[in-house]
């Protein structure tokens, strides 16, 4: 036993090491990135366990699944939207008989600090019929991640650990335990249970359904679900999940009387505990981070005598992140005034490209080349360059999901918008841009793909791109892009005139062209220089 100061992400990572994990795989994504970063540092210092970045969340998930197949423990970590990418292996891995413990850590981003939506991963766990653990603090992040590996092996299921930004990125002392040894290599004994041909899949699906009562019974008595009943508190009851409990506790003292309270940290939802609470009270307030998941389950379709308060009733806002003040308001406590400066509006300061960023030079070349065109479309993607949507650049028209720029430019071109441009970074291209480029090659779509190669995954802190940048051009040519219309340029203002002219030429070309604009991100360059002293 010892105490360490850890981020929520780091508590999860260390727990996995102590649980005897053999390998971890991920693609970087805020707020989950620090899990793998911690494990990579740990591997460097201690020689193991293996921790590697992957091309995307799907490939990461499948590698972890392979480790489980080999009887050993694996972790895969991702941000919430990363689970969309990994959804195929995730959903199907619920049907195989998980062998070595498989833990899927998903960090949701309510409030969208660094994301394009605030989807709630508890729905995915429910959808796949697997266990989901939702820690409320860094200590639980450690304890529940350790437990997740045991549960995965006990029920032969992948187990989801759901984090949210505030827990992932908040640091405090954590008491950690002793390390368990890794599992020995032992291939999954029954291949049929891993070969989801329809005949086998039907059997496995049925087995998953048949296991449900056992999993439900586990949830009822899980230490992560705690019911505190007060006989004389028969008016308002409170249900909290995950970190919402902290905001409730923060305000508890001022409520001045005990309330019956159910905390949920493990799903499937403990129906028995919920019923016991509901028998005791006439109104229940549901406090949860993300979607009104528990609230909707309680509300169901049929009318009930018990009043259910939460996001659907506006007692808590339906969007954004919870705060101690929102919970305070929901509990009917008076607002606590801070200081203010009447008559002065602090102007907002949105993020922006670093001074000297290579993307700024690429956007300059592109916007100048597009100047005066009637119906140009510039589909963009996920990364620092998304900031090119903001002034002074205002250079792009869309940003939807990883790789979408390429497919959307193709579709827009097919529909008749010209010139059609896709703007994507090197790491995002390798993550999800290669397959839609195949579609464009196959159809020789009239579009221009602009790959902004800053030689890193910059937005999440400069993780190395999965392939060295020098290989991107070969990859593009290997797909069959016409070499006469595949160009490597330097994203530098010294090349401004030549770059603009080249972009103009390729926009005019009626077919598929690819321009790879290369210059290293100045942030990673700085970090490298620092490291070299």
């Amino acid at each position: 036993m010892s105490d360490l100061v850890l981020l929520g992400d780091e508590a999860v990572a260390l727990a996995a090491v102590h649980a005897g994990m053999t390998a971890a795989y991920a693609y970087p994504g805020t707020p989950s990135t620090e899990i793998l970063e911690f494990l990579i540092r740990y591997q460097r210092r201690h020689g193991g366990p293996r921790a590697t970045w992957c091309a995307n969340e799907k490939t990461a998930y499948e590698a972890a699944l392979g480790v489980s197949f080999a009887g050993r423990r694996a972790l895969t970590a991702m941000k919430h939207v990363g689970l969309n990418v990994a959804a195929d292996p995730f959903m199907n891995s619920a049907l195989v008989s998980i062998h070595g413990g498989l833990v899927v850590v998903v960090a949701d981003d309510p409030g969208m600090h660094s994301s394009q939506n605030e989807q709630d991963s508890r729905y995915y766990a429910d959808f796949a019929r697997v266990i989901c653990l939702e820690p409320a603090n860094q200590q639980e992040a450690y304890d529940l991640t350790r437990e997740a590996f045991d549960l995965s092996e006990r029920f032969h299921l992948p187990v989801v650990v759901r984090l949210v930004t505030r827990l992932a990125h908040s640091r405090t002392s954590v008491r950690v335990g002793d390390a368990r040894a890794e599992n020995a290599v032992a291939k999954a004994p029954v291949s049929k249970e891993w070969t989801l041909l329809p005949g086998n899949a039907r059997v496995q699906w049925r087995a998953l359904i048949d296991r449900q009562p056992e999993v439900d019974a586990w949830s009822e008595q899980s230490g992560a679900n705690r019911l505190e009943l007060h006989e004389d508190a028969d008016d308002l009851g409170v249900i909290t999940t995950g970190i919402a409990r902290n905001y409730y506790v923060e305000n508890l003292e001022e409520i001045g009387r005990p309330l019956s309270h159910l905390h949920i940290g493990a799903y499937p939802i403990p129906v028995g505990l919920v019923r016991r609470l509901m028998r005791q009270v006439s109104r229940v307030l549901v406090l949860e981070e993300g979607y009104p998941y528990v609230e909707r389950l309680l509300r169901g379709l049929l009318p009930s005598d018990i009043e259910i308060l939460g996001k659907s009733t506006g007692t808590v806002p339906p969007d954004g992140e919870l705060t101690p003040d929102l919970v305070r308001h929901a509990l009917g406590l008076p607002e606590r005034p801070g200081q203010s400066m009447p008559g002065f509006q602090v102007p907002s300061r949105p993020p922006q490209l670093c001074a000297g960023c290579p993307h700024a030079d690429s956007f300059a070349a592109l916007t100048e080349a597009l100047d005066g065109m009637a119906t140009p479309v510039v589909a963009s993607d996920i990364g620092c360059y998304t900031l090119g949507a903001l002034p002074p650049y205002s250079a792009v028209d869309s940003c939807v999901c990883m790789g979408a720029s390429v497919g959307m430019a193709k579709g827009a071109s097919d529909a008749g918008l010209r010139p059609a441009v896709a703007v994507i970074g090197d790491s995002t291209f390798l993550h999800s841009g290669v397959t839609p480029l195949m579609d464009a090659v196959a159809a020789n779509t009239d579009m221009t793909l602009f790959i902004l190669d800053n030689e890193t995954t910059a937005m999440t802190g400069g993780q190395p791109t999965i392939l060295p940048p020098s290989r991107i051009e070969k990859l593009v040519l290997g797909l069959g892009v016409d070499p006469a219309h595949c160009h490597l340029i330097a994203a530098h203002h010294r090349q401004a005139e030549a770059n603009r002219a080249l972009v103009e030429r390729e926009l005019a070309y009626q077919g598929l062209s690819v321009i790879i604009a290369v210059r290293e991100c100045i942030e990673t360059l700085k970090t490298k220089k620092k490291a070299q002293g």
């Binding site: 827990l167 002392s173 902290n246 905001y247 506790v249 705060t323 305070r328 200081q339 400066m341 999440t460």
Partner: protein
């Protein structure tokens, strides 16, 4: 005892290093600590906010409630005003005065500093100048730790020890510069 600190600044100003030094020092003094950080998109030149909570009993929420912060410690003047709703009525603002003017509608500096000066407890510190005098323009954030050290419930000696520890890997000279910056900030805020 509870002492909540809002740390403010612009991405790249070293808000997290300030938070880390105060947090480690408080832990060393046996306090409970929670430190909520910002990673990701807003670090790119946007407004950055960290919550640092110190107490002599376990802390539930990672976020500071409105009206509860004892101190706003800001690396940039405009940012010192962004989170006033978190500041308790008797809380203090300690801020550096050099602006980061990377937005079009940045208010006139004199007017801005004037406004800050009118808050009940405000301390404006020329962090950049003191840091340069101490030997490095990059030590502004340690000047600001020094300026806040009168308020923070941790002995200055402990803060100094963690500044040493933090910069030790970068060599003696960097340690000396940052300690000098801390002391200059502490003195300026007397």
């Amino acid at each position: 005892m509870k002492f909540d600190i809002i740390l403010a600044g612009v991405g790249g100003q070293g808000v997290l290093s300030v938070s880390a030094i105060i947090a480690s020092s408080a832990l060393e003094e046996g306090l409970f600590v929670k430190q909520s950080e910002v990673h990701g998109m807003s670090q790119r030149g946007g407004a950055v906010l960290a919550h640092l909570r110190l107490a002599d009993a376990p802390i539930a929420s990672d976020l500071i409630p409105h009206g509860c912060a004892s101190l706003i410690l800001s690396m940039e003047p405009l940012e010192s005003l962004r989170y006033l709703n978190f500041l308790s009525p008797d809380g203090a603002v300690v801020t550096a005065i050099t602006p980061v003017q990377n937005i079009a509608d940045y208010p006139p500096l004199d007017e801005l500093l004037d406004r800050i000066g009118k808050l009940p407890r405000a301390r404006l510190v020329d962090g950049d100048r003191l840091a340069r005098d101490a030997g490095s323009a990059r030590a502004t954030n340690m000047v600001m730790v020094g300026a806040a050290s009168h308020d923070v419930p941790v002995p200055a000696a402990t803060l100094e020890r963690f500044i040493e520890k933090t910069f030790a890997p970068k060599g003696e000279k960097v340690v000396a510069t940052n300690l000098a910056a801390f002391r200059a900030g502490r003195e300026a805020a007397l």
